[in-house]
Amino acid sequence: MLLKDMRVGQQGRIMALRSEGLHCRRLCEMGFLPGTEFSVIHRAPLGYPLALKVRGYEVIIGKTDAATVEVEAQHEINA
């Protein structure tokens, strides 16, 4: 599944990056790499961006980028 389809409160693990160029570079720099675990903490009122907790910090990610990250959903933290 893609990162953009995750629900608030879900935890997941990044499987693969499907972007190129600047987009891929920025994701890598910020530590979005296969195997990295994260949780979705907020979703903006209009659906996007998402706010994630990853590698101990919080970051917002736009729809375009979230649509290029393949993830695997794990259990929910507080359903």
């Binding site: 903006a44 659906g47 706010a51 101990g56 970051v59 375009t64």
Partner: protein
């Protein structure tokens, strides 16, 4: 990036409201403060150099380098935040080009102790430069509070660098940092790649065959070339080097991963292993934390970023900020200074004082009515500025800015912008100069251009007096007139963005939207007060340096001229200003404003002086209307008399400039057109200068100026012509037709014209200028 940015790399653009720093001197040692956005570089810089550069709790406050003197022979250079040296946006380019400028003798790498994992990524990149480095772990107080335990000695050993823990907020550790800086053993360190052997060996292979000229940065250049980033062109002359790079790239991408990903994975794997060794958690503390149901930030965000509450909370905050500073508290403050301070005390006592010194009548009049009246009209708004700047500063410091970007992102997308563009617009309501510079942080070229062209339409602090004066003089029966002007500005920006994004120069390009959410903190009183002080000081200094000479000259020009039947050149009486020199000069120009209703030469003069500084519009009006002011109001003036004095200024404004007495509704519409034109047209010269530097090409600059002039004139035309038609007080003329055509053209562009096809804003690997 695009070549248009080359000029920005080392050039420092200074805003009129940002304190000026020292110049970079060639014989001092240069110490670079580098780190991720919002890790506290500028706060530490201010503490170390006793300076007051702009700070805030959101990423991207610093957009150009700041130079400060730390010791007689040591200069600190505060850089914009960046996540890596493969720069994306303009502000990040400033950082990487400074670091690679080969005059850096020491890097102070500041990291946020609460998110070491991500921060050290940049540290590893900096280690490749072979420049001595001190790792400063900031936010140490927060680290302790969160129960994070960092073994600094072990970290120092693994990363082969000095490690100092500080807290810029509390001042902890800063003395140690100062001491370390004072007797630092400078020199060159061997550049190292900290990571797996497979990558290190390949980089070293390439470094071995690097021509001598580029040897010092050989490891870094090899990495840059490998990942397709920039490197000096001269390296390509070495076939051996090119072969080494090619071979390394083939080997590292053999498993189908992008080369950049291989590098990042390698470095994060190294970081994970380091952190496992050096960072632990205080279990007891942690238990307490989670028991309290998350941190304060989490709890605030559960309301502020809640899907349903987010927009209402945002609107409430915005309304509160502008209602308090513009309408409620602000007007109380302004009334007090204008009526009590200036009206009752300063102006009468100045005229009396001058008269008692035996000064000539015309000098008394020039000083009291021209200079004091004109400058006073501007200074009267100082208390209101203080309130506005205080609220903006609190907003910037508390951490809400990034949240607002988050909430608004999708709305801004419709305008071809990203949520991050909210920040320049908000700053623009204080002053346009720093707002234009903040546009550097925006990711895509198109977004930056649209923001640069529209951000000064937001009424800045200097345009606030115009709104207030008109709201009192002409629109006193319109409820919420001032807040409505802010809404009108938002509307104009939306229309502008919708128009601009349909043109080729603003072709939408996509840039990654990734922004760190900072933790909230209570704004430090010291920082807020300093920020108010510096911004207000800028406003007051402008009143002395621009407004004062301006009104003095203006007063003279309005009081000399060829008058009377014999057209003799002489001093004029107050009621003869119609024959003054300024009238003779400006009257031909004011014809331009006939279609929009304010062709009175006094209004035209106000428009022209407004280009120097927007608040000058108010001071100009004060000079022109002083003849109506009671000149010798004594100190025991009663409240009614004061009220009368103010009313007479308003009366004069209404009837001199806009002739509302005779024209009625038409005059009121002309006044509204005047306000619109001045709010949305080209900003003051200071902002225009910054616009020119920031927008990059002179073609775009002139386009921006032409657009702003045409757009604001159009807005005024529609207001005046169609307003008159709508109110049944105008007849259909040629200009009415033009106004209708203008609206139709806008409608065509927005609704029918096709947008240029989307284009990926891929980073072109361009090379450094040849390094001599």
């Amino acid at each position: 990036m695009k070549s248009t940015h080359e000029g920005l790399e080392v050039e420092q653009v200074r805003g009129s409201l940002s304190p000026s720093g020292a110049a970079k001197s060639a014989d001092a040692r240069h110490v670079m403060l580098a780190g991720n956005p919002n890790c506290g570089k500028s706060t530490i810089f201010n503490r170390l150099c006793n300076m007051h550069v702009r700070t805030g709790n959101y990423p991207g406050v610093t957009v150009s380098r700041h130079v400060g003197n730390f010791a007689p022979d040591v200069q600190l250079i505060d850089l914009p935040g960046t996540y890596s040296l493969s720069s994306a946006s303009t502000d990040e380019q400033v950082a990487s080009s400074e670091l690679l400028d080969n005059d850096a003798e020491l890097i102070v790498n500041i990291v946020d102790g609460t998110s070491l994992e991500r921060s050290i990524y940049l540290t590893l990149e900096l280690k490749m430069l072979g420049i001595p480095m001190i790792l400063v772990i900031n936010m140490w107080d927060e680290v302790k509070k969160q129960g994070i335990v960092i073994d600094t000695a072990k970290l120092a050993e693994t990363l082969q660098t000095d490690v100092i823990a500080v807290s810029a907020a509390t001042g902890e550790g800063l003395e140690e940092l100062k001491r370390t800086l004072n007797d630092y053993p400078y020199g060159i360190r061997p550049p190292v790649y900290l990571g797996s052997e497979s990558i290190r060996d390949r980089l070293e292979d390439a470094a071995r065959v690097t021509p001598d000229l580029f040897k010092p940065l050989a490891i870094y250049y090899a990495k840059s070339a490998l990942i397709g980033d920039r490197y000096p062109k001269g390296l390509e002359e070495s076939d051996q080097w090119k072969d080494a790079i090619r071979k390394a790239r083939e080997e590292l991408t053999a498993d189908g991963k992008t080369i950049y990903q291989s590098f990042a994975e390698d470095r994060y794997a190294f970081i994970d292993s380091v952190l496992k060794e050096c960072v632990g958690r205080d279990e007891k503390r942690e238990a307490k934390e989670s028991g309290a149901k998350g941190t304060l930030t989490d709890r605030i965000d559960s309301v502020v970023l809640n899907r349903y509450a987010a927009f209402p909370v945002f609107l409430l905050i915005m309304f509160a900020v502008y209602y308090i500073s513009v309408t409620w508290l602000g007007s109380i403050a302004t009334d007090w200074t204008n009526d009590t301070l200036f009206g009752e005390t300063v102006i009468p006592s100045v005229s009396e004082g001058l008269a008692s010194l035996g000064a000539a009548d015309w000098i008394c009049s020039m000083v009291a009515d021209g200079i004091v009246g004109g400058v006073g009209a501007v200074l009267g708004f100082v208390p209101q500025m203080v309130i506005l700047f205080a609220l903006l500063s609190i907003l910037e410091e508390c951490g809400y800015m990034t949240r607002a970007s988050f909430i608004l992102d999708r709305l801004f997308n419709m305008l071809g912008l990203s949520g991050r563009a909210f920040i320049p617009y908000l700053i623009g309501s204080g002053c346009g100069v720093p707002a234009l510079m903040t546009a550097r942080t925006l990711g895509s070229e198109s977004e930056r251009r649209i923001t640069l062209m529209t951000t000064t339409m937001i009424p800045c602090g200097a345009k606030l007096p115009i709104i207030i004066v008109f709201s009192g003089a002409v629109f006193s029966d319109v409820p919420f007139f001032a807040p409505l002007m802010y809404l009108a500005a938002v509307f104009m920006i939306v229309i502008s963005a919708l128009i601009l994004k349909k043109f080729h120069s603003f072709k939408q390009s996509s840039a990654p939207v990734m922004l760190e959410l900072p933790a909230y903190h209570i704004p430090m009183l010291r920082v807020v007060l300093l920020s108010i002080w510096h911004r207000t000081r800028g406003y007051v200094i402008k009143a002395g340096t621009i407004i004062m000479p301006c009104v003095a000259i203006l007063w003279l020009l309005t009081h000399i001229g060829f008058a009377g039947e014999e057209q003799q050149f002489r001093m004029l009486e107050d009621e003869e200003t119609g024959e003054s020199l300024v009238a003779d000069i400006v009257k031909p120009v004011s014809v331009v404003f006939a279609p929009v209703g304010f062709d009175d030469y006094r209004a035209s003069v106000a428009v022209i002086t407004g280009l120097l500084a927007k608040e000058s519009i108010v001071s100009t009006m004060a000079v022109f209307t002083q003849s109506e002011n009671p000149e010798d109001m004594d100190e025991e003036a009663s409240d009614e008399e004061v009220e009368e004095a103010r009313n007479s200024f308003y009366e004069a404004l209404r009837n001199n400039m806009f002739d509302i007495k005779n024209r009625g509704t038409v005059g009121v519409l002309a006044a509204l057109a005047f306000v619109f034109f001045n709010l949305f047209t080209i900003p003051c010269v200071a902002a225009v200068g910054v616009l020119r530097k920031e927008i990059g090409s002179s073609r775009l600059f002139w386009l921006a100026v032409a657009y702003q002039l045409a757009f604001s004139y159009g807005a005024a035309l529609v207001t005046f012509q169609l307003g008159a038609l709508f109110c049944g007080v105008g007849s259909f003329g040629i200009w009415t037709a033009v106004a209708i055509l203008y609206l139709l053209a806008i409608a065509y562009i927005i609704f029918i014209k096709k947008a240029p096809s989307q284009q990926e804003d891929l980073m072109e690997p361009i090379r450094f200028k040849q390094i001599a």
